[in-house]
């Protein structure tokens, strides 16, 4: 019999009260309990980055982040990255416009990681940009247009 824990956190700007199992992962809380299916699992071992979300603005692998640890923190998933007036968020728009989306499975995690990176690094080097998504695997694009999209985000600035 395992204890269940009450977790109170903010997800995409909205307060959430959830009951979680002790070793439940953040990805399970998001996908199963909160029905936020935009976060994907690619490997469940922290090796591919598909499950990337932001916790207090920092990109983490939600497959390895304990749900209980989210208590008191702010979680941002791809559903929380929205633009003004129903438009796409500029980071998402950059990925779409530059052709950085093919099958799209890696894309939510990739965008969130890129977004967190650009917010923290307004003036990165080429190498830093490439390394920014070294933990996000894409099998479709060869990363070229993903890097282009990140550069566009840097040029235009992101909020």
């Amino acid at each position: 019999m395992s204890a269940e824990l009450e977790v109170s956190c903010i997800v995409n700007g909205e307060p959430v009260m959830a009951t979680v199992r002790p070793a439940e992962r953040l990805v399970d809380l998001l996908r199963e309990r909160l029905d936020l299916k935009g976060t994907k699992t690619g490997c469940e071992e922290g090796d591919c980055g598909a499950c990337t979300v932001l916790v207090d603005g920092v990109a983490v692998n939600s497959c390895l982040y304990p749900a209980a640890e989210a208590a008191g923190r702010e979680v941002t998933t791809i559903e929380g990255l929205t633009g003004e007036g129903g438009k796409l968020h500029p980071a998402v728009q950059a990925f779409v416009d530059l052709g950085a989306v093919q099958c799209g499975f890696c894309t939510p995690g990739m965008i969130l990681r890129a977004y967190a990176f650009v917010k923290e690094n307004p003036n990165p080097t080429e190498e830093q940009i490439r390394r920014s998504v070294e933990g996000n695997i894409c099998r479709c694009t060869g990363y070229v247009k993903i890097i282009d999209a990140i550069k566009t985000m840097i040029e235009k600035g992101v909020e």
């Binding site: 070793a23 922290g46 990337t52 983490v60 304990p66 209980a68 390394r131 933990g135």
Partner: protein
């Protein structure tokens, strides 16, 4: 799916509380800082059978911080790789450590993985082990000491690892901090983890060198190897092959050949023994070159 046997997730807010929980634990209590190794273990169903509990260290202030302690540096056990890599103090004083932290896994993992976790998990390939061995760091562990505050003990990193996944840490102990003494004045450090990627590589071989030159002669040398034995190790024979010698081709050759035979790598899916020995030899040459420039 994970976590079917985990019964509780504790969130102590002080070191005392954390240590008391560990002392009083009735079922195995796993301290979790980043959790990246633990949750993978759980996912792979490699946790021991039966009930267990987790204790988060993320809100224990005594386990944070990178501070100067005189000439030494004290790093809290729950300091993340990301913090290590970004620390200007470490970049200035111990770039070999900051650099190794920056080349571990991925940014997402670095954001939560900690120095304490890296040490406690004790992979022979642990990213921070090589620089910490070079720097002759000490691991400070704490256990519940009743009213007088925690019991502390320090162990040199070189004596901390006892085998793959094994350390001298007792089940009721936490890694409170890592202490880095000032290195010998003028010693230059370098380390390298080869691979096709800058990070995202579970080391199949890595090496580090600390070199103190007196003109063209090696006044002192420190060598450390990762993923080349059943634990991260120093390389005393390779050090001897360098110490007191002039830095010429003959010394380079002897040192790298000593490294080749000094290490005791295994053959596994990441590489054969022969390849790893070849890397050990090669890395010594490379590190000497890097240290000289």
């Amino acid at each position: 799916m994970s976590g079917s046997e985990c019964r509780n997730y504790h969130r102590p807010t002080s070191l005392q509380e954390a240590l008391a929980l560990m002392a009083g634990a009735e079922v195995p209590l796993w301290p979790v800082a980043g959790g990246t190794d633990l949750l993978v273990k759980d996912h792979r169903r490699q946790m021991p059978p039966g009930p267990w509990e987790m204790m988060s260290l993320k809100r224990v202030p005594e386990l944070g911080g990178i501070e100067a302690d005189g000439d030494a540096v004290r790093i809290g056990g729950a300091v993340t790789m990301r913090e290590l890599a970004a620390s200007t103090m470490l970049q200035e004083r111990h770039p070999v450590l900051a650099g190794a932290a920056d080349h571990m896994a991925s940014p997402q993992i670095r954001a939560v993985a900690t120095i304490g976790g890296n040490l406690a998990n004790a992979s022979p390939a642990a990213d921070l082990a090589v620089p910490l061995l070079l720097l002759e760091a000490e691991v400070e562990m704490a256990s519940c000491g009743g009213d007088g505050g925690p019991n502390l003990r320090r162990v040199p990193v070189a004596g901390f690892f006892t085998g793959p996944g094994a350390t001298v840490r007792e089940p009721n102990e936490l890694i409170r901090s890592v202490l880095i003494p000032p290195p010998p004045a003028g010693m230059v450090f370098a380390s390298h983890k080869p691979g096709t990627r800058p990070a995202m590589v579970c080391a199949h071989a890595s090496a580090g060198l600390g070199l103190l030159l007196d003109g063209d002669t090696v006044a002192d040398a420190r060598v450390a190897f990762g993923a080349l034995a059943d634990r991260p190790v120093r390389g005393p024979l390779t050090e001897d092959a360098l110490r007191g010698k002039p830095l010429n081709e003959e010394t380079l050759e002897r040192a790298s050949e000593t490294a080749r035979t000094e290490v005791s790598p295994i053959t596994d899916v990441r590489g054969t023994e022969a390849y790893r020995r070849e890397l050990a030899a090669s890395l010594i040459r490379r590190l000497i070159r890097v240290c000289r420039t």
